[in-house]
């Protein structure tokens, strides 16, 4: 038996794909912004906070970095309702993504903070800057410039990882692919096209992050 590829079978479903793509993009953008915010706070607490807070952040980072995203997602979506915290699949997807990227970016930004020479902090303090000012203008600024490439690739990885949220029925691009596949039984065509869409998305995202980096994140 030979199988004939039939990509036109996808055409009637272009709107499903478009909505899925939109969801994936929004999910990525929101969780990137929120995740980096969490990471900045986490890294600051890890480097300059009191020992108990620093330890707590460390546990959070190690727990998330050493477990699969899908298990985190299932835990949040299926596990938390048992404690009375019921979340919609969309909310659970957003929370899981932020929690996940938050942990990774904490670790990445912390590495950047570690690389800032101690003399710079002392110089800032001796100029009568407050601790927050030192953190904001001296430490974080340099840290971000140093770790920006690592952070960018983590964002792309998280975007690709977001395909997993389809498993709790969050309506992302992969969910759309599964839906279409269940309608027209053209599994290979659907997944191939959607894989290519992800590929384009990741190339565009990398390009966009480089533009943002060139514009806003400068060394010195």
């Amino acid at each position: 038996m030979t199988y004939h590829l039939e990509f036109s079978a996808l055409l009637p479903y272009w709107q499903d794909l478009a909505w899925g793509l939109w969801f994936t993009v929004v999910l990525t953008v929101v969780s990137t912004v929120a995740g980096i915010a969490v990471g900045t706070l986490g890294a600051s607490a890890r480097s300059f906070g009191p020992p108990w807070l620093s330890g707590l952040v460390r546990v959070y980072v190690e727990l998330i970095r050493n477990t699969p995203f899908i298990v985190q997602l299932f835990f949040i979506f299926f596990g938390l309702p048992a404690l009375g915290l019921k979340l919609s699949e969309t909310t659970a997807a957003f929370i899981a993504m932020v929690v996940n990227l938050g942990a990774y970016s904490t670790e990445i930004i912390r590495a950047g903070i570690d690389a800032v020479p101690k003399g710079h902090i002392e110089a800032g303090v001796s100029l009568a800057m407050t601790r927050l000012e030192v953190l904001r203008y001296i430490v974080l600024r340099q840290a971000f410039a140093k770790i920006y490439p690592a952070l960018s690739s983590q964002i792309v990885i998280v975007m690709l990882g977001s395909a997993v949220v389809s498993q709790i029925s969050a309506p992302d691009l992969t969910y759309a692919a599964n839906f279409i596949q269940s309608r027209n039984f053209r599994a290979f065509e659907v997944y191939f096209v959607v894989a290519l869409i992800y590929l384009v998305l990741s190339i565009l995202l990398r390009y966009l992050l480089r533009l943002i980096g060139d514009r806003f994140v400068r060394v010195g």
Binding site: Y3, N66, F78, A163, V164, A195, Y198, L199, S202
Partner: protein, 216 residues
């Protein structure tokens, strides 16, 4: 009664963990072999070998692992080839791993000073000989830490095989949850087992990294 089912859940999860371990080993070893071959092609300086390798890496690094699993599992079956979850998961994870390992190792090869290439080239060594006797032995030293680090990603990646019906730790968790309706406990245990698998490797990778920095 509730104590009883806790032990049954834990026992089943630990039993299922072996499949996560096997799949990780297959993906890691297979990915390492394919990755090494790709590394030779990628650094060969021969254009028609390099470009396809680049595209291969771009595809596997630029698309979700989940999509790759679907493509292998659902896609290939349509061409009349019977694909078991074992095969699809093993193959997809191997190729995915190989793409990442190639890129990691390429970075290590490129970190070797150019003089090493020139010196070995001037001794009339062929490209394969240069790699085998001069470049790789040095590159391997730098490559160990990131490679161990990446093995953690491989273990976590195998969790996605559950979606195409491969019964490993995550799938066992889903099945146990369906049977016991104790999602909080089940997924917490699943996460804990993954943590026990991954954390030592992460820790080891970090230690190796530190050691190497001191040596330099």
């Amino acid at each position: 009664m509730s104590d009883f089912s806790f032990w049954i859940i834990l026992k089943n999860l630990i039993w299922a963990t072996q499949w996560t371990v096997y799949l990780s080993l297959i993906a890691f070893v297979g990915g390492g072999i394919v990755g090494l071959i790709l590394l030779f092609l990628r650094t060969s300086q021969v254009k028609w070998l390099e470009v396809p390798t680049k595209l291969y890496i771009e595809f596997f690094q630029g698309t979700p692992l989940l999509m790759q699993l679907f493509l292998f599992f659902f896609g290939v079956a349509l061409f009349g080839i019977e694909v078991s979850p074992w095969m699809a998961a093993g193959l997809a994870l191997t190729l995915w791993t190989s793409a990442f390992l190639t890129e990691i190792w390429r970075g290590c090869v490129e970190a070797i000073p150019k003089g090493q290439w020139e010196a070995s080239g001037s001794l009339a060594m062929s490209y394969i000989e240069q790699m085998r006797y001069v470049i790789l032995p040095q590159a391997m030293r730098i490559a160990i830490a990131p490679t161990v680090g990446f093995s953690v990603q491989v273990i976590k990646g195998t969790a996605l095989a559950s979606i195409i019906g491969f019964v490993e730790l995550t799938k066992a968790g889903t099945m146990l949850n369906n049977a016991t309706f104790r999602p909080f406990l089940v997924y917490a245990l699943v996460a804990l087992i993954y943590f026990c698998l991954c954390f030592p490797l992460s820790w080891f990778a970090k230690r190796l990294e530190g050691k190497l920095n001191v040596a330099r």
